[in-house]
Assembly symmetry: C2
Homo-oligomer: 119 residues x 2
């Protein structure tokens, strides 16, 4: 997975376990795209301190995932749902006996898409 997406997932799952300071600096960098220098200036700490704090925070978040594996679990679900969504979309109107059955199929297909996007 792309690094930024992986960082976003880690914070989405385990961010509430960080201290307010870890969380704030993490968000400045990974959500609001502040550079290390910009964060150093706004927080009045050294650039090295920003770098160390981000590295340490990443290690903490990754440590939770290594122990709990909940991102891995969600992603496994997501892969299976994506496959189901694909199979549902292979249907065409002519596969059904009538319009009502086809419309119900499309409604279920949309529901699956919604679940898939929620995860």
């Amino acid at each position: 997975m792309e690094r930024i997406a992986r960082m976003a997932l880690l914070a989405d799952f385990y961010g509430p376990l960080l201290t307010p300071k870890q969380r704030r600096i993490w968000d400045l960098h990974y959500e609001q795209d502040f550079s290390h220098v910009e964060i150093a200036e706004s927080e009045n700490i050294s650039r090295q301190a920003v770098y160390d704090l981000l590295k340490r925070t990443e290690k903490i978040l990754q440590g939770y995932e290594d122990k709990l594996g909940l991102i891995r679990r969600f992603q496994a679900e997501q892969a299976k749902l994506s496959e189901v969504a694909r199979l549902m979309q292979e249907y065409e109107q002519k596969d059904f006996a009538n319009d009502k059955a086809w419309e119900r199929h499309q409604a279920i297909s949309r529901k699956i898409e919604e679940i898939y996007q929620d995860i």
Copy 2:
């Protein structure tokens, strides 16, 4: 939710964050159904100590869920998937134009059941 089921879910999600001792005593009680007295004897600690340790462990696990809400999130998924599984099962062979379309539908329906049971 029933208390024992809730305890099992908490340990399933957040158990790896417990200390080995917390985990062991938790499993003895909630998985292997040992009484407080039996655990006190096997661990050579007081019955009160067993009680306190179990209470404290429950508080720790519930604290993770209060912060992260991942059980809530999984259960919301599960409810939606259950609804989709139900809608899929409302179909009958006569809703489809041919046997092949019906068999594909049943195969997708089974896949959804599998995902639902995995969660």
